[in-house]
Structure formats: structure tokens, C-alpha cells
């Protein structure tokens, strides 16, 4: 069993990077795809592809929302860990012979 001090700065920096990735994702996969697919509808009047574009937009939005939740959840969790914890007992691993 060993004890290490939690590097709060590193956790917070990690949270910020994850948050930034979530924002980029929102812009590119959320808004960006929705705008592009709406434009495809206008670009291709009477084309059968145009009919699927909006479905694609919705499906991408749903999965994007899930992924964003995951990223934001991780960011919040890291922030909380940085806020609440100071040291960590390493219970398993080298010290335990693992």
C-alpha cells in the first residue's frame, strides 16, 4: 500500500481538455452536420438522397449527444475529484505484488 498526493492541477487540466473536446464535437458533429444535411436537401431537389439527409442528421445528433454527455460527465467527475480529494492510497499494484 502506497500513498500518493493527488495532482489537482493535472486533473483540472484534463477536465478542461475534455470539455474543449466536447465543445468541438458539438460544433462539428452537432451543428455542422445539421446545417450540411439541411443544405443537401436544398442542393438536390427531387433526389432520393435528399430524403435520407435529414434522417442522417438526426441519427448523428443522437449519438453526438451521448458522446458529449460522456465527455462532460468525465470533465465533471475530474473536477469533483480535484475538489474533494487530496491523497490516494494505492491499494493494489506493485506494492501488493501485482
Amino acid at each position: 500500500v502506497g500513498k500518493i498526493t493527488v495532482d489537482k492541477g493535472k486533473l483540472r487540466a484534463g477536465a478542461a481538455r475534455v470539455d474543449e473536446a466536447a465543445k468541438n464535437l458539438e460544433g462539428a458533429a452537432g451543428l455542422g452536420v445539421a446545417q450540411a444535411m439541411a443544405a443537401v436537401e436544398d442542393d438536390l431537389p427531387e433526389a432520393v438522397t435528399a430524403g435520407v439527409a435529414i434522417e442522417l442528421s438526426r441519427a448523428v445528433a443522437e449519438v453526438t449527444a451521448d458522446l458529449m454527455s460522456a465527455l462532460q460527465g468525465l470533465a465533471e467527475g475530474l473536477e469533483a475529484a480535484a475538489e474533494n480529494f487530496h491523497t490516494v492510497d494505492v491499494v493494489y499494484g506493485e506494492a501488493a505484488g501485482g
Partner: protein
């Protein structure tokens, strides 16, 4: 026939759809970047938080799965982008030609009618674009279907709930023990405590600063500290007069020579006083003395559960430590698959017992019963094969039925979950949601049928323990109580019955016997006041043991299927909707376990019927043809499709 040229074939500008595809590709890039960021940050956090060995492995395992899903999402966006790019290339190839053919430049000086419609020249270009359009649509539709399937795998749950530690505390609780300033101060003091009883007493005094909730969390995160609480109580004189510790030590000491029922009643009364006077201190007592309270008949069930969570936490820690030994042994010697699997199973099961939130089978909307709950462990001992009892449902004033199931030969910690889940399903089978069930493995069961099961000493030990456990449950008299014994568990229930078990009903299922020394229901103290039922499937090998002559440590009394005063039920047939059995009769070697496993079968419905006071199917004997030269041919009624035995409502 005039060719129809769609608007988009005339109007679409080459390159425009391609630019839309670029936005999809950009999205794929953002997804990829997010996945990479996820992996980097998680790995970094793992380092910061000290995730090594198990913790690092679990984080990596989840990350691999999450990686796969992120990668799939990225690939699908790329595929959609490529579908649009292909369409765009086709537009670039054919649209200028279509435009040229539909807009011919007038010849100088020609004022007559224009040139004829160029259908023949247009057709290959229009057909090519129509095909490109359909192909793009099909590819995009395929992408949409796969994206929906990806969403249906519950991406968020996977990532947020378990994979990526959105709930970082959960992973920390499991792998990286952390503490706030107060806990840190306590731990610093703990490190300085001497070993032995004096140090343990000082430790308890130190931990008593925490509320029961704080203490439970602390012990869950510090199994090494919890392990130091394994000792028993000192004499009452050691504790402050009037303290819960003194009260419990006093009652345990003063009642040790009383008959079990009186002792349990005295313990119950002592706890009732503590709970009235200071429920917080009573809960603290359970946490500070988990080995004393966890399995103590007469202690309130909620305190037993609290204490047993501490014990399960210690056992989990032991198993994780053992894993290191097992892995090392596997590397240095011949790999031991059995030891590895057993170790893995226990770790997984203990983690479930501690962390899994399960549906409450007695939940009713509008009631005070919780919809979900933690596992309720009423008895726990991880030593050897393991002993455990788990309760399903909320036992309260509105509970109508309480059923306790005792499994048989080969039952141990590694397969207990399966037996426990049977009783969860029995509780769920009550449409009124008023049935609470317990699976009790409070005794070491035989490991094998031939060398172990004929011996009755397991039952002689287990029977009184089961009886005391039932007394300890303190089920009010207005509830319908049932003890069920399967296989060797039947012999345990039989001995408990012989030793004064107080229940309304006893059900023997493929029972090894009615209990050593029991030849008729008159040998049970409750006589016919207890209703008894029994069923065994045709061809069940337990038939070789049932009613066999007994001598000394061999034999389990009469065959309950044959005893007067015991209602003989039929095991009947499998559920007709069960595709693996198609409604066939339950019989033969497999029948021995099927009688308690096969949901929806006649046997299963009988078990539910006895526990909940519903309909049961009575036994219909087989027909044996007369043969003057040898044994006649036996045919069982359930071999005939559609046969249904007589049914009665037992309450």
C-alpha cells in the same frame, strides 16, 4: 417515351454536395479527436489517482470498449461523407453534359424551330445520375441504421455510467482510496495504533467520531482498516455503562446458556431498546462490530445488512489480494484455471453485492417501498466454500408471504447468485408484490453427491441454524411463512422442522429426506399444524437416496414424497413456451436441478403457489402395466400431450 430529368440533375452544381461531405468528414475528425482526448485524459487521471493493477485494467477495458464505439461512430461519419463525395463526382461527370444538352446554343441566323429534344444523348447521363442518387441513398440509409444501432447499445450508460468514470468516485471507491482532511487525520492516527485488542479498541473509539453513513463509506474505502474490526466484543465491564456495546456484551454473555429461542428473544429485546434510545449509535455498533452483528440472530435485519456490507468489502479485498497470488502462481507454475475462475467469480459477485442496484421485487407505485435497492445480505461468511443469505424485497407491515429457500449439494458462494435469483423471481411471481424471499446458505453443503450427500452431519448442523435464522427474521405471525428445501437442502429443512422450525409451510423439492430420524409427521414438534408439501420428478437420481435406510451419519429419514400428512405435488412438465423443452415432461437426471430452475414449469408454479398461497398441481401417479413375467411398463401421465393434473387452491 420522353425522358424525365429531375430538377437536381439540371440545377446541382458540381462540388457543392462535395462541400457538404466535407462537413461530415470534419465531424468524423472531431469525433476522432474526442476519442483520443478521452483516452489521453483517462490514462492521465489513472496515473494521478493511482489506478494500478485492477483499477488500471478496468479503466483500460472500458476504454477499449469506448474506443471501439468512438471508432465506429467516426467510421460511419466517414462512410456518409464518402457516399456524398461519390454522388458529387457523378454530378461533376454528368451534370455539365445534361446542362449542355438541355440548353443548346442557337445557331447564328437560325430563326426556325429549335433542334429536336436530345433524348438519346441525355439518357445515359440521366440514368447514371439516377443510379448514383439511389446508391448514395442506400449507403446513407445503411449509415443511419448503424448509427441507430450504436445509439441502442446505450452509449451514454456505457460511457458515463461505467466506462469512463463520469462517476469518478465509484472507480475511486474501488481502486483508489481517497479521503478528505478529516479522514486523512483519522488514517494518520490509525497508522500509529498498536496491534492487538488495545489498538483495536482505540481504533473503534477513533472511528466512533464518524456518523454511521460516514463510517460505512470510510470502511468500504478502507477494507484494511475494516479488517481490524473483525474481533468480538470484550466483557461488558470494559465499556461505558449504558452504552450499546455494554448492552450487547451483557446480553450475549448472560444468555449464552439459554435455549436458542429465548436467547434470540433476549438479543432482539436488547437491540429494540438500543434502536429506541439511539438508532444512530446502534447502527454505529453494527459497523464497529460487523463480525458480531452481521450473522447475529435477533439483531435487526437492517443492522445485519449494514454489518455484512463491511464483511463483504473485506472479503472482496481478500479476493483481490488472492488474485495477485493466483496470477503469480499461474505464471510461475501450471496455470490453474479452476482457481482463477473461482477467484474471478467471487470478485465479480462481491462487487455486485456491494455496488449493484437491483429492482425491488416488492415495489408498488405509491407505496413507501423503494423501487430499487442494494443487495440485502443477512448472513455472510466468505471462508471456505462460503456461507451467505440474501433477502429480496421489503419486509414490512404489508408483506403477506415470506419464503426461505435452502439450496442443496454443491451449493456454495460461487453459484449462490443463481439460487438467489430464483427466489427473486419467486417474489416477482406474486402479482400482488407482497412476497419477500430469502435464499439461505448458512451452512456448508456437501460438495458432491456420491461421497458427501449421504452423510447427515451437514443437515444436523444446518437444521438448527436454519431454525434459529428463521426465529431471527422475526416475521410477524400474520405473515404466511414457508421453508423450501431443495435436494440436500430438503434434509436441512427436515432437520430444522424436527428441531422446532416455526413456519406455516414446508416444501420439499427433490428432497434428500424428511430429516434424520423422521419417519412420520408426528416426529415433528409442530405435527400437522405445519402444512407440508413435497415433489420429485420421475427419474431424478435423488430417488436412490430418498428413504434409504439410515445408520449413524448416513441417511436422511423418510422420503417426504411417501409420508402420510405430506401433500404430494407433481413436477409435471416444462413451460410449453420454453423453446428448449417444448412442454415436455420433467424427468431424468436433469430434472434434479430443473425442478427449481425451469421458470413457468409445473414444478416452478407449485413452488410459487406454496410460497404465495396460490394454485398448486397435485401428484398424479403413473400407470404400470401388468406383466406376469417381469416388471410392467410404467407410463407417466405428463408423457401424454395436453395432460393436466388436478389443481387445488391452497389458500
Amino acid at each position: 417515351m420522353t425522358i424525365h430529368v429531375n430538377r437536381w440533375m439540371k440545377e446541382a452544381q458540381p462540388g457543392v454536395v462535395g462541400s457538404r461531405a466535407t462537413r461530415l468528414a470534419d465531424a468524423a475528425g472531431a469525433v476522432n479527436a474526442a476519442g483520443t482526448r478521452l483516452a489521453e485524459v483517462l490514462a492521465e487521471a489513472g496515473g494521478v489517482l493511482g489506478w494500478v493493477s485492477d483499477g488500471a485494467l478496468e479503466a483500460r477495458r472500458h476504454l477499449t470498449r469506448a474506443d471501439g464505439q468512438v471508432g465506429r461512430f467516426r467510421d460511419l461519419l466517414d462512410e456518409a461523407a464518402e457516399a456524398l463525395r461519390t454522388l458529387d463526382r457523378s454530378i461533376g461527370e454528368h451534370q455539365p453534359e445534361i446542362h449542355r444538352l438541355l440548353n443548346p446554343r442557337p445557331l447564328p441566323g437560325n430563326r426556325g424551330p429549335g433542334p429536336p429534344f436530345p433524348e438519346a444523348e441525355l439518357r445515359p447521363h440521366v440514368d447514371a445520375l439516377a443510379l448514383a442518387d439511389r446508391t448514395a441513398r442506400d449507403r446513407l440509409q445503411n449509415v443511419v441504421g448503424q448509427l441507430r444501432a450504436l445509439g441502442a447499445t446505450n452509449l451514454e450508460d456505457d460511457w458515463v455510467g461505467t466506462a469512463v468514470p463520469a462517476d469518478v468516485g465509484r472507480l475511486l471507491g474501488k481502486y483508489g482510496v481517497v479521503e478528505d482532511d478529516r479522514e486523512r487525520a483519522i488514517l494518520d492516527k490509525v497508522m500509529l495504533l498498536p496491534t492487538g485488542p488495545r489498538g483495536d479498541a482505540e481504533l473503534r473509539a477513533l472511528l466512533a467520531e464518524l456518523t454511521p453513513e460516514e463510517l460505512a463509506d470510510f470502511l468500504a474505502r478502507h477494507p484494511d482498516v475494516a479488517r481490524r474490526l473483525s474481533g468480538g466484543l470484550s466483557p461488558a465491564s470494559v465499556y461505558a455503562p449504558g452504552s450499546p456495546e455494554a448492552a450487547l456484551a451483557e446480553v450475549l454473555d448472560s444468555t449464552k446458556n439459554l435455549p436458542p429461542k429465548e436467547r434470540i428473544a433476549a438479543i432482539r429485546a436488547a437491540f429494540a431498546r438500543m434502536m429506541r434510545e439511539d438508532p444512530q449509535r446502534a447502527a454505529q455498533l453494527a459497523l464497529l462490530y460487523p463480525e458480531v452483528v452481521g450473522n447475529l440472530d435477533g439483531a435487526p435485519l437492517e443492522l445485519r445488512m449494514v454489518a455484512n456490507r463491511v464483511k463483504v468489502g473485506i472479503a472482496l479485498d481478500d479476493e483481490r489480494a488472492k488474485r495477485v497470488d493466483v496470477q503469480r502462481a499461474n505464471q510461475e507454475f501450471e496455470p490453474n484455471a479452476k482457481a482463477t475462475a473461482g477467484n474471478d467469480k467471487r470478485i465479480t459477485y462481491y462487487e455486485k453485492l456491494l455496488y449493484e442496484e437491483v429492482k425491488n421485487p416488492t415495489y408498488k407505485p405509491g407505496s413507501e417501498r423503494p423501487e430499487t435497492m442494494s443487495h440485502q445480505v443477512l448472513f455472510f461468511d466468505g471462508a471456505g466454500d462460503g456461507r451467505i443469505a440474501e433477502m429480496w424485497g421489503t419486509l414490512d407491515a404489508n408483506t403477506r408471504n415470506v419464503g426461505v429457500f435452502v439450496p442443496g449439494t454443491t451449493a456454495d458462494m460461487s453459484n449462490f447468485e443463481s439460487d438467489s435469483n430464483k427466489m427473486r423471481d419467486v417474489a416477482l411471481a406474486d402479482p400482488n408484490r407482497d412476497t419477500v424471499t430469502v435464499t439461505w446458505l448458512g451452512v456448508d453443503m456437501p460438495d458432491a453427491i456420491v461421497p458427501d450427500a449421504p452423510f447427515n452431519h451437514y443437515a444436523e448442523t444446518g437444521g438448527p441454524a436454519l431454525r434459529d435464522f428463521m426465529w431471527g427474521l422475526d416475521v410477524p405471525a400474520d405473515k404466511r411463512t414457508t421453508a423450501i428445501g431443495h435436494s440436500y437442502g430438503g434434509a436441512v429443512v427436515g432437520v430444522a422442522d424436527r428441531e422446532g422450525l416455526e413456519v406455516d409451510n414446508v416444501l420439499h423439492i427433490a428432497s434428500a429426506g424428511a430429516g434424520k430420524g423422521v419417519d412420520s409427521v408426528d416426529d415433528y414438534p409442530s405435527g400437522t399444524a405445519t402444512k407440508r408439501y413435497s415433489m420429485t420428478a420421475p427419474g431424478d437420481p435423488i430417488g436412490l437416496v430418498q428413504g434409504a435406510p439410515h445408520a449413524g451419519r448416513i441417511g436422511h429419514g423418510a422420503d417426504p414424497d411417501e409420508m402420510d400428512g405430506v401433500v404430494h405435488l407433481d413436477t409435471g412438465r416444462y413451460d410449453p413456451d420454453d423453446p428448449s423443452h417444448d412442454g415436455e415432461m420433467i424427468q431424468g437426471r436433469d430434472a434434479h436441478s430443473a425442478v427449481t430452475r425451469a421458470r413457468g414449469s409445473t414444478a416452478w408454479n407449485n413452488m410459487v403457489g406454496v410460497v404465495t398461497g396460490g394454485e398448486v398441481t397435485l401428484y398424479t401417479p403413473p400407470h404400470t402395466s401388468y406383466n406376469p413375467y417381469g416388471p410392467g411398463e410404467t407410463t407417466y401421465p405428463y408423457e401424454r400431450p395436453g395432460f393436466e393434473g388436478p389443481k387445488v387452491d391452497i389458500e
